[in-house]
């Protein structure tokens, strides 16, 4: 498969009043043409910062690339000038932001905000662009789009704003679409429509999608592959089946155990104990060790390398070291593993 984007050894810090926040601490992944890669992980683990660094949208004064490269079309995006980056942004790579209000201009009618990138990157006239914009709004499920083109962002609901942002991101048929929590503000029926829309776009023009979400149901629905982030690193990456049915990292286990199921009793929900690592002074070993009942002595001393689970599946945990003791994952995770051929808990027929 063709690699459209390669993130290599990315390290990035913020300089703040309190010191250097080491937000990204060595991130590696490839994005293949036409695939959807979901990024999940703890709040504050660096999902948005990773993708914003691809788009080069971090505050220049306070953020610093410490190491690594981001290769797109033979070029290292970390080294491009602002001007070169502008040509890529919104055209080849576009992004749907987590907080829609940060990417919408509150003082400009939404119609103009959608037509602007179309006029900038495509050779079409104003009237045509307006038609494209109305079509896009209809496509994302906005009722009566003609009447709403002249309205301002504050006149829309949270989910409607999010859909306007989606319309803008889709306007130029990007090669890479980075979607940061694109459907979190939407109800499940409209969410399903948007997910279909993104899949259609993918089929039509082979767009590659990086999809950040906390909703593991959505991940199961859209993702081909999943990367799990914790404390500024990817701790596990694999196909969607591998991550859901054969997870290996204790953080992934905790994540999968935290969801309420539809038939959950009134018992307390499971929450991973402890607090996220301090990125001003990150732990020297496995960043998750302090919160993990599976932690071993080496976890406190040395960061685990990636261990290969299959050709498509890797996890950074010392538990996969040949000399590590075999441990029993949590009950809920074993239930999942029973469905996975190749897992030692497999009990036949997944489908």
């Amino acid at each position: 498969m063709e690699k459209i984007l390669q993130v290599k050894d990315l390290e990035l810090s913020f300089h703040t009043f309190g010191g250097e926040v080491k937000a990204i601490r060595g991130v590696n992944f490839d994005l293949y043409k036409g695939e959807t890669l979901a990024i999940v992980g703890e709040s504050g683990s660096g999902k948005s910062v990773t993708t914003k660094s691809i788009m080069r949208l971090l505050p220049e004064a306070t953020s610093e690339f410490k190491n690594g490269e981001i290769l797109f079309g033979g070029r290292d995006l970390t080294k491009l000038s602002d001007k070169e980056m502008q040509k890529i942004r919104g055209k080849d790579i576009s992004m749907i932001f987590q907080d829609p209000m940060t990417s919408l201009n509150p003082t400009m009618p939404i119609g103009r905000q959608i037509t602007e990138p179309i006029l900038k990157h495509q050779k079409i006239g104003k009237d045509e662009a307006k038609k494209v914009a109305i079509d896009l709004l209809r496509l994302v499920g906005m009722p009566k789009p003609e009447l709403r083109m002249k309205q301002y962002p504050h006149q829309f609901s949270g989910g409607q704003r999010q859909r306007i942002v989606i319309a803008i991101a889709l306007a130029c048929n990007p090669q890479i679409l980075i979607a940061d929590e694109p459907t979190t503000a939407l109800d499940v029926t409209i969410q399903a429509q948007i997910l279909e829309l993104m899949k259609d776009l993918q089929k039509k023009i082979d767009t590659s999608i990086i999809f950040i979400t906390h909703d593991l149901g959505v991940v199961a629905n859209v993702a081909d592959r999943v990367a799990v982030m914790y404390g500024g690193k990817i701790v596990e990456i694999g196909t969607v089946d591998e991550i859901f049915y054969n997870p290996q990292h204790p953080y992934t286990w905790g994540l999968l155990s935290s969801m309420p199921s539809m038939d959950a009793e009134d018992a307390k929900l499971y929450a991973i104990p402890g607090t996220p690592p301090d990125l001003l002074d990150p732990p020297k070993g496995d960043a998750f060790a302090l919160r993990s009942e599976y932690a071993m002595k080496i976890d406190m001393e040395q960061p685990p390398p990636f261990f290969k689970v299959s050709d498509t599946h890797m996890a950074a945990t010392w538990l996969l070291h040949p000399e590590a003791p075999a441990v029993e994952p949590p009950e809920m995770v074993i239930e999942r593993m029973k469905k996975f051929p190749g897992s030692r808990y497999y009990e036949g027929s997944a489908n």
Binding site: F17, G18, V40, E42, S43, G44, S48, Q98, D99, M101, T102, P143, K144, L147, K150, Q151, Q155, F156, S157, G158, G159, Q160, R161, Q162, E181, T184, A185, L186, D187, V188, T189, I190, Q191, A192, H214, D215, L216, G217, V218, V219, A220, N221, V240, D241, F244, Y245, G254, L255, S258, M259, P260, S261, M262, A264, D266, L269, A271, D278, K339, N351
Partner: protein, 313 residues
């Protein structure tokens, strides 16, 4: 029956009245919120959930209808002192954390704003301690107090909004998607926290959300909205086991599950408002189909639903 804390009576909130782009964001809804309960509110994006919340807390003047808090009208005239008291009792956690936090203020001052307005801190040290405690309550730490909102991740910002609402020790909290920006483990933490606070302090919540498994988990009763109207209201378990309005059925059929195999083969039920075939003669309103289970329906649909209920038994 439990005591009513909030009564919403035929509330209407229309925008751009009389213009081509008039929006009937909330169009005549009525329900009660009982003391100490969590009422979940779900529904299509843009159906008027936030507007309902904002009207209840008086961020808008209602176009029509009434909101009573402990029997007193919220929208009626009030003197400054009453208003202040009232503002403290009711707090809102906003949907868009970015837009609702003042970007130029440090976290310390954002969270302490309510504490200052209501004079809740004995002195500067007490104020600081209160803020530190609140930060810890929501899973952040005291180092965060000196930061600005833009220096936080989306989920961290949402927790600032929660800490701010908790700061003035309210009785009633309108939580507009308070957890959707959080990872599932922190969602669990916050939901556990909201439940604990509820038990401890007898708090009442109006909980607006899209994540239906979480709504089910936290709510005692759930209201379903569609285009400015309430279409179904029932105890949480009952609603999931026995959804009656076709929109509710469609909503429940679309919940994505964390199971790739299931997702590959899932089917959804679409909702088309035309199925009702309502005419002007139909008296469409909320009717109690079974005890405490209300459905927005016509006389004819009501009869059909009751028949179906009878057949089930």
């Amino acid at each position: 029956m439990a005591e009513k804390l909030v009564e919403i009576k035929n509330l209407k909130q229309h925008f751009n009245v009389g213009k081509a782009n008039e929006v009937k964001a909330v169009d005549g809804i009525s329900f009660d919120i009982y003391k100490g309960e969590t009422l979940g509110l779900v529904g299509e994006s843009g159906c008027g959930k936030s507007t309902t919340g904002r009207s209840i807390i008086r961020l808008y003047d209602a176009t029509d209808g009434q909101v009573l808090y402990e029997g007193e009208s919220v929208h009626g005239k009030k003197n400054k002192k009453d208003l202040k008291k009232f503002n403290r009792k009711m707090q809102m956690i906003f949907q868009d954390p970015y837009a609702s936090l003042n970007q130029r203020m440090k976290v310390m001052d954002i969270i302490a704003e309510g504490i200052d307005i209501h004079g809740l801190a004995k002195d500067a040290n007490d104020r600081k301690k209160m803020v530190y405690d609140l930060l810890e309550t929501v899973g952040l730490n005291k180092e965060h107090a000196n930061r600005y909102p833009h220096e936080f991740s989306g989920g961290q910002r949402q927790r600032l909004g929660i800490a701010r609402a908790l700061a003035v020790d309210p009785d009633f909290i309108i939580a507009d998607e308070p957890i959707s920006a959080l990872d599932v483990s922190i969602q669990a933490q916050v939901v556990n926290l909201l439940k604990e606070l509820q038990e401890e302090k007898g708090l009442t919540y109006l909980f607006i959300a899209h994540d239906l498994s979480m709504v089910k988990y936290i709510s005692d009763r759930i209201g379903v909205m569609y285009f400015g109207k309430l279409v179904e209201l029932a105890p949480a378990d009952e609603l999931y086991e026995n959804p009656m309005h076709p929109y509710t059925q469609s909503l429940l059929s679309a919940i994505p599950l964390p199971d790739p195999n299931y997702e590959r083969n899932r089917t959804r039920k679409a909702y088309d408002p035309a199925v009702h075939n309502y005419t002007d003669a139909d008296d469409v309103k909320m009717r109690e189909v079974s005890p405490n289970h209300f459905v927005n329906c016509s006389e004819k649909e009501f009869a059909e639903l009751q028949e179906r209920m009878a057949a089930k038994k």
